[in-house]
């Protein structure tokens, strides 16, 4: 008996065809009340795409048949924010901007050290999303985390002091610029490696579902926001977590801060299909693109995505197209970005845009905004003074916090736990 090759050859599957399955249902990803607006003036990376030419499928974004909603706000006569909300957003953005400017000043004065990544230009994303959260909701950030911490409510004093490496910092000087944590504010960390924060954020969202479904805490409705950049969207952990989050309908929003550059690597040179929001539907979740230089647009998208998560309807991927006004870090000579591109985005400063909106809609006057700026100046002067006058971490701190239970250091030569040795608590023990 002989086997013929043809007998066992698999029947070829036609490429690019979908095999119908009995339980197939059409998936709808649009946020219903957001309608694609084909004549939007916001082109962002699409414009860049055209300029670079090579990867062009620029029409894809506005194709109405796409399951992905390219969210652009309709012009309506209704105001997007109340006066109070508008002023709160303005204050948070000013705080973020001025704080980072102060950091640059302090870095050059030698008060802070290492890698310091500033957030200037991206404020609309942090403010637009985080200001909608409850205190119990979680934020997971990256190495560019100062402003996320501030928006989440960590006091300027604590953040500044951490950057100064002082004992009064939010992590007592042990974390530093890239590693801001605050349990009180549910800031679950700044993660310094690309993609690392996403699984951790997904785990936080998983915890909420577990609380509700396994621990019977019916009121558990906390949402987690995972912030990361365009560079991260080529990393496996991103895809792995989109899958699990959608699979398990976790209450999380994946917030891509697409600032178009990963250090000196242009997003377009790094990504086969640069439209990141399109990756959401591939995993069965909505993918939304929003102008990340417009805090009000970000806020509208964020509202729906956060509510969706809170209602238990699962995750959303939001691509905020934004721009950083400074180099990758204060050590980056920033030589590769086109000055014309920088100028283009400088002209779209999100703070100026909000200011304009507030004025045009009579939500605020010059004096009110000036008063906010003055207040933030004072807050930051105070934060710097506080950090400067704070004590350095004592020697004893070196060996603290390695373990939640310091018995983890093991048993010493005298048979008792090393951590019980007075030299240990004084920080003079040799371990």
């Amino acid at each position: 008996m002989s086997f013929t090759a043809t007998k066992f050859a698999p029947s070829p599957l036609p490429l690019n065809s979908t095999i119908p399955r009995s339980n197939d249902k059409p998936l709808s990803f649009s946020f219903d009340h957001f309608k694609p607006h084909p004549s939007s003036s916001f082109l962002g990376s699409t414009r860049t795409l055209l300029r670079f030419g090579a990867l062009a499928r620029p029409h894809a974004r506005t194709r109405s048949s796409s399951p992905v909603s390219a969210v652009l706000l309709q012009q309506t006569s209704n105001l997007l924010v109340t006066k109070e909300e508008g002023l709160e957003l303005y204050e948070d953005m000013i705080l973020g901007r001025f704080f980072e400017d102060k950091c640059a000043e302090m870095y050059y004065r030698g008060k802070m050290f290492g890698f310091v990544h500033l957030y200037n230009g991206q404020e609309a994303v942090s403010t637009g999303f985080i200001k909608l959260l409850k205190k119990e909701d979680s934020v997971v950030s990256t190495y560019r985390d100062h402003v996320h911490a501030l928006s989440k409510g960590v006091p300027s004093r604590q953040v500044m002091s951490e950057l100064f490496g002082k004992a009064t910092g939010c992590c007592r000087g042990q974390g530093g610029s890239m590693h801001m944590f605050s349990k009180e504010h549910n800031l679950l960390g700044g993660f310094a490696f690309i993609g690392e924060g996403i699984p951790v954020a997904t785990g936080a969202a998983f915890t909420n579902k577990y609380k509700r479904e396994v621990l019977n805490q019916a009121d558990a409705d906390h949402v987690t926001l995972a912030f990361f950049g365009d560079g991260t969207c080529n990393n496996g952990q991103f895809f792995e977590c989109l899958n699990m989050a959608a699979l398990w309908k976790l209450p999380i929003v994946f917030v891509v801060e697409n600032n178009l550059w990963a250090i000196g690597m242009s997003h377009l040179r790094a990504t086969s299909d640069p439209q990141i929001y399109k990756k959401g539907p591939a995993f069965g979740m909505p993918g939304v693109h929003v102008d990340g230089m417009d805090v009000l647009k970000v806020r509208e998208v964020a509202k729906e995505a956060i509510q969706r998560a809170r209602r238990g309807e699962g995750p959303t991927l939001v691509e905020c197209e934004t721009y950083r006004f400074r180099g990758h870090s204060l050590a980056d000579p920033d030589e590769l970005r086109d000055p014309a591109e920088k100028e283009h985005y400088a002209g779209r400063d999100p703070i100026a845009a909000l200011k304009k909106y507030l004025f045009e809609n009579n939500l605020a006057n010059e004096q009110e905004l000036k008063a906010i700026e003055k207040k933030i100046d004072e807050v930051l002067e105070d934060a710097v003074e506080f950090a400067d006058n704070s004590p350095l971490p004592p020697r004893s701190q070196l060996l603290e916090n390695v373990f939640a239970d310091p018995k983890g250091f093991g048993i010493g030569p005298d048979g008792s736990y090393r951590c019980e040795d007075p030299k240990f608590t004084q920080g003079t023990a040799h371990v």
Binding site: F113, M178, G236
Partner: protein, 320 residues
């Protein structure tokens, strides 16, 4: 790269940005984007691609922007690269170099500041090199690229900014250093100090201080963590009868522990004092500058340890 067209460099920011630390400056211009490849931020992906290319006969040099990021690719370094020659019974060799800055940096906190020498040094199938000077970097990197096996090449971020005298011999195009051979940087007769990478400089400074106090220290630059030049170390200890090991990494299961074992196994009878081990503190790297300084070895620590090894005759319990 000019000698062998199969050699190519890939990693994050190695091309247009000229390297995050400008180490690959000029290479893109000289060899073009086909041989100097900017990758997305996907360590697991591009390290694995490098390994696959090496399976198939190319000689990739994979740069990690820092070795801290190699943790995202460690599966490929260990499982795909280090074990393949053995698993395939010698059919598939993996001539790849993983290189980048390693060790404690300054002010960058726990995730960006640690030494991987003992991590990779523990893995059969890998060679682990740790250059100290410009001569080391040139000679060892060439050896690493020509080597038929996977090499982990641990540079030091803080040494990038340091200059070293270079001999005409080292500048010669034929210059290359052997893998697995340590270098005696300074001869001495009273105590042996072993060190690698940045700590060699600290050991040499300590030796100068000790010389002023009448102690003659021999400083060994290990150059290669795996294979480890046990004979150079043991020969030195048999001469000086005392040993101080210095490393930046964590103390437990570290490079010093391995050296200590080697000396105990081979030269136990020659030791006149317990071995002194200087290592980083057994904690993740703190950010605050004062704590950070306490967490990494300082020249004074080496001097103190050498003196303890030279003067004391009775071993003390814990060296507090």
């Amino acid at each position: 790269m000019s000698a062998d067209p199969k050699v190519f460099l890939m990693g994050e920011e190695v091309g247009e940005y000229q390297g995050a630390y400008k180490i690959s400056k000029g290479l893109l211009e000289k060899y073009g984007p086909e041989r100097v490849l900017d990758t997305p931020i996907t360590e697991a992906g591009f390290a694995g691609i490098g390994v696959g290319a090496a399976y198939y006969g190319l000689r990739p040099v994979v740069e990690f922007m820092t070795f801290n990021f190699s943790m995202q690719a460690i599966d490929h370094i260990i499982n795909s690269a280090a074990k393949s020659n053995y698993m395939s019974a010698g059919q598939i060799s993996v001539p790849i170099v993983f290189r980048g800055p390693n060790g404690a940096a300054a002010g960058v906190g726990a995730q960006h500041s640690q030494c991987y020498a003992s991590w990779y040094g523990a893995c059969p199938g890998l060679k682990v090199l740790t250059p100290y000077s410009s001569e080391d970097a040139r000679g060892l990197l060439k050896a690493a690229i020509r080597d038929p096996d996977p090499v982990v090449f641990l540079e030091n971020e803080l040494l990038y900014g340091e200059s070293f005298p270079v001999t005409a011999e080292a500048l010669d195009s034929s210059f290359c250093l052997p893998i697995g051979k340590a270098k005696i940087e300074r001869e001495g007769k009273d105590v042996t100090i072993t060190a690698y990478s940045k700590m060699v400089g600290y050991a040499l400074k300590a030796a100068e201080t000790l010389a002023k106090e009448g102690i003659s220290a021999e400083v060994i630059n290990l150059r290669s963590i795996r294979p480890l030049d046990r004979s150079t170390i043991n020969n030195s200890v048999r001469k000086t009868n005392r040993l101080v090991t210095v490393e930046e990494g964590f103390p437990q299961h570290g490079v010093g522990a391995e050296i200590c074992t080697s000396v105990i196994e081979e030269s136990f009878g020659y030791l006149d004092a317990p071995v002194e081990r200087i290592a980083g503190a057994d904690v993740p790297m703190p950010y605050a500058a004062n704590l950070e300084r306490m967490a990494v070895p300082q020249v004074e620590d080496i001097v103190r340890a050498a003196k303890r090894a030279c003067y004391r005759s009775v071993p003390l319990a814990a060296a507090a």
